[in-house]
């Protein structure tokens, strides 16, 4: 039975990219909010 290691690596890599990417997105959005909250609010 061939082991298909390339498929195993691909599956774990996709999981890492998706979950890591989501984590980075959260970090970025948090930074954006901090910045907006720190700035004096614009009059509407």
């Amino acid at each position: 039975m061939p082991d298909n290691w390339s498929f195993v690596i691909a599956a774990y890599a996709i999981a890492a990219v998706a979950l890591g990417g989501y984590w980075r997105r959260l970090v970025r959005l948090e930074r954006d909010v901090e910045r907006r909250n720190a700035r004096p609010r614009r009059p509407r």
Binding site: V8, A10, A11, A18, W23, L29, V33
Partner: protein, 216 residues
Amino acid sequence: MTRVLGWLAAAGLVIGLVMAFVIAPREVTQGHVQRIMYVHVPTAWVAYLAFAVVFVASIVYLARRSATADRLAHASAEVGVVFTGVTIASGSIWGKPTWGTWWTWDARLTSVAILFIMYLGYLLLRGMIDERERGARYAAVLGIIAALDIPLVHFSVYWWRTLHQPPSLMKPGGASTMPAPIVAALLVNLAAFTLLYAYFVARRTRLLARQQQALA
């Protein structure tokens, strides 16, 4: 608190990887490719959990109009969509060398695809309506309706003829016959991915609160 959760999840995932690649044996019929299970099954479980949380939080929101419940539902749906995407991708990659196809329209795969699309629609609906109260109400209704697909996904392999095999661990009333190292590796990864889910949701919920604060 969230930070602790994050470190716990990270530690869990590292142990999970060791379990999946070192402790768990090479499976007899499939070979090493079976190790995809240690990411496929936990992400699928988290998808169920995430959408179940959306379901409960949506009911709570409709009953009490609690902004916290609304944010929890929103955060959990978003995280659930990410995990469902990983489930579908890893399943597809596992399917090609074992079944001989990336995709087929059997009941399990079709119901999961519907689940994924419905919650994408849920997130779109959330972004579409500016008026917060009305958006939350519509989303809560959709969050309750869409959750009806969860049992369909899980039991599809029993109710219809499918290419997908039935669950190995979450069998209705049947003990697993799998060897202990395989079960242990799966359980550790289930715990680790659940921690990661909790961490993501905690962080996303907090972020939503801040975003709403900034807008107010």
